[in-house]
Amino acid sequence: MSANVTAIPVASSEPVLVADGVSIQFGGLKALTDFHLSIRQGDLLGLIGPNGAGKSTAFNVLTGVYQPTQGVVRVGGTQVNGRKPHQINLLGVARTFQNIRLFRALSALDNVKVACRAQTALHQSSLSVGSKLRNAAHNYADWWRSLLLTPGFQREERRLTEQAEHLLDVMGLSHRRDEEARNLPYGEQRRLEIARALGSQPRVLLLDEPAAGMNTREKADLMVLIRKLRDDFNLGVLVIEHDMKLVMGICERITVLDHGETIARGAPAEVRSDRKVIEAYLGDSYLESHGGAA
Amino acid sequence: EKKTQPTPSGEAGTQAAQGQAASPGGGTPASADTILLGQVGALTGGQATFGISTRNGIELALKEANAAGGVNGKKLAIRVYDNQSKPEEAAQAATRLITQDKVVLILGDVASSNSLAMAEKAQAAGVPMITPSSTNTTVTEKGDYIFRVCFIDPFQGFVMAKFAREDLKLGKVAVLQDNKSAYSIDLSGVFTRKFTEMGGKIATTESYSQGDTDYRAQLTAIKKTQPDGIYVPGYYSEVGVIARQAREVGLKVPLMGGDGWDSEKLFELGGSAISGSYFSNHYSPDNPDPRVQKFIADYKAAYGGVPDALAALGYDAARVAIEALKRAKDLSGPSVRDAIAQTKDFPGVAGTVTLDEKRNAVKSAVVLKVGDGKTQYVTTINP
């Protein structure tokens, strides 16, 4: 099955990304235990928890950076345990990083185009030898097309450029089109990372602390932006964030981790008033300053 | 389908030569009354000492010739280029000598791969080339412009096999060859063949790489086979150390080798361990011939130290060239080539040079015994 992502029917009620009882251990440290999650397109979910709770680790497991020691990750119904991150990305899962990881010497446009490019690649639908060979043949043939500058290739390049420009525009970065990524201010780098992730035309977008390093005003803008992206691109979005205003403000459901374990899950209001969450994460003062339940 | 092979034959080469090297009518860019020769040799890298010895020998010969009035009133000069012991550098340097410096003749390198690379260029351009000390047979097979003033590997291998079998009466000999050197591999091959033909036995063949300094592994392996002698056709730069380490692991049998051994440094590197070993060579400094003794004295005065075979051969090659230049009717490639080809009974310090139809010198070889700080003449073996 080598279906193209864009061909998948929009707004399916099928979950796109599913984690089923996922655990991972580093040496003796249980970073994530029995983690369950299910995201559909159009969902806007939050993942919170104290520092070191295992939130980023969860992202890494979902995107194939780490292999779970237990449990199953599924994307669009296919089990993806053992697959490489790029294969999972091609299935429609994109992410940003807690510590910005842009291609620093590349222009903003090229950063996005790198991700756009993925759509022209074949999906490695199975791990069989035949499919691998086919894939390899396709890839080498693709190099030849770009070497020969075939009209088809030129059209493809133009399409990529347009697509990337569009994404820059959406993220309000058009004026930085040709600037090297490392020269962008921090906030714009964060946005560029999101634009890049969108380039791979994901069905699910994972954002790891997108508001970190932003001031209150910028955070407010970001909230609007995330909602807009969800709607315009029909994305499932999962956000890790420590800014409660942001998380509580936009997320429909929230999962709370502590020491790798899921200690609460539910609507913001429920989570916010959960004793365990307050103890482990929010702190009593949060309750004071925000006046308990909404 | 066979095709006529477009190898640079003498005729094609001649035309090229007339177009370039010979066009100024023998004049050189330096000035009209100088004849410029060229040398390509290893001046840097692992084989640098060979190139430098050769250069010294050549330089001495030129100085003498110039002191004696030069060639037909013209002074001789030489340009020396380094080939870093690499064939492509040798080819480049040879090409530069031929086409930029417009030398009338080039003197080649020691290492056969490098001489081969030069020979290709010299032959194609129709510029005569003499290699002083490349003993590999293929070098002069490159064409009729390529000569040598030394004997060839098969002969030298044969000499030592004969000496080992008949004079030293050895039954079982181990071979330790330098795997990076075509010369060493050739000698070891010929020696192995001849020695077994004469009824001897090869105990084992081990190898090392030029530049190594630890041979204990090979020597320990050799020791196990309990040979009567060890044939080490390498260069003195390694042989000296090999001798020391052979003694160290408890091998007391004699070592034998070829002309690559010949250097004053052999005694320094080998210390007392090398004493009592034998090697075949082009000449013996013991030779009482006054010409030889004068050469040795002059060389000592100019460069310090006893000249090795490479210096002697460089000296001979240069003198053969100079004689031929004197005899040649002009300085064009073909004339010089013909003049060199006629070399007969030329009295060199490293034996009498007569060039055969394959442009190789037919010479006898001497066997020397290494003593304390000097070599000692043992015997002469004729082809």
Partner: protein, 251 residues
């Protein structure tokens, strides 16, 4: 020197000056990050530096701590001209800098990181007690003593960076966005600690995105805009100013 028009709100509490920065400029290649920044930090004072992304807050701290060489201007610290001193020469004079991006040593254990904080100190016994103090401040660090710092979570790393900076017993602590990526609770802890530290007489120069927190905590504040000081004033006064509320608090 293009001294900007600095809008000053309110009177500054009197502190004996510890750090004085006069018109420093910093360049990264062709980019000019600081165009003449002047500020002072008094003994025992907490000073906040706020501003949008790329305003030059980090660059200011780097220039002060000697990580960067200012191309113009003067820096005086503890009564000495330190403009041309290198970073490692400033540490023994009482400067500690917890840099942006935390700058922990990932391939060393938590404990070793802390020990590096006390690199110049010879009073082993007191280092021990100081270390115990930081463990009570940040209990996670005690738990993770032997873990490689690189595998700590982001927040844990930030705590480590601060704890390490304190271990040199500085007179002036430079903190670059200490709340970055921290859970709300931890952020509070850190600011509480900051106040405690300040109580012991340590001056703090604090760069923060969370203007609310920072200005609440600070005696005095500066607002940086594109490499220049645009506004200055006591923390509370800035917090109440309409411009700051609009630009940095999103109100």
């Amino acid at each position: 020197m293009s001294e900007a028009q600095v809008k000053t709100l309110g009177e500054r509490q009197a502190f004996a000056p510890l750090l004085t920065v006069e018109g420093i400029k910093v360049h990264y290649g062709a980019i000019q990050a600081l165009k003449g920044v002047s500020l002072t930090v008094g003994k025992g004072e907490v000073v906040a530096l706020i501003g949008a992304n790329g305003a030059g807050k980090t660059s200011t701290l780097r220039a002060v701590s000697g990580m960067l060489k200012a191309s113009a201007g003067k820096i005086r610290f503890g009564g000495q001209d330190t403009t041309s001193l290198k970073a490692h020469q400033l540490v023994p004079r009482g400067m500690a800098h917890a840099p942006e991006g935390r700058g922990i040593f990932p391939n060393m254990s938590v404990l070793e990181n802390l020990e590096l904080g006390a690199y110049l100190r010879r009073d082993t016994a007191e280092v021990k007690t100081d270390m115990e103090k930081s463990f009570t401040l940040f209990p996670v660090l005690k738990e993770r003593r032997t873990q490689m710092a690189g595998t700590l979570s982001g927040g844990e790393q930030q705590m480590l960076a601060i704890a390490r900076a304190l271990l040199s017993r500085p007179q002036l602590l430079l903190l670059d966005e200490p709340s970055l990526g921290l859970a709300p609770q931890v952020t509070e802890t850190i600011f509480r600690t900051l106040r405690e530290v300040n109580q012991t007489g340590v001056s703090v120069l604090l760069v923060e995105q969370n203007a609310h927190l920072a200005l609440n905590c600070a005696h005095y504040g500066y607002v940086l805009e594109t490499g220049e000081v645009a506004m200055a004033g006591p923390g509370k006064a800035l917090l109440e100013s309409a411009e700051v509320r609009r630009a940095y608090l999103g109100e």
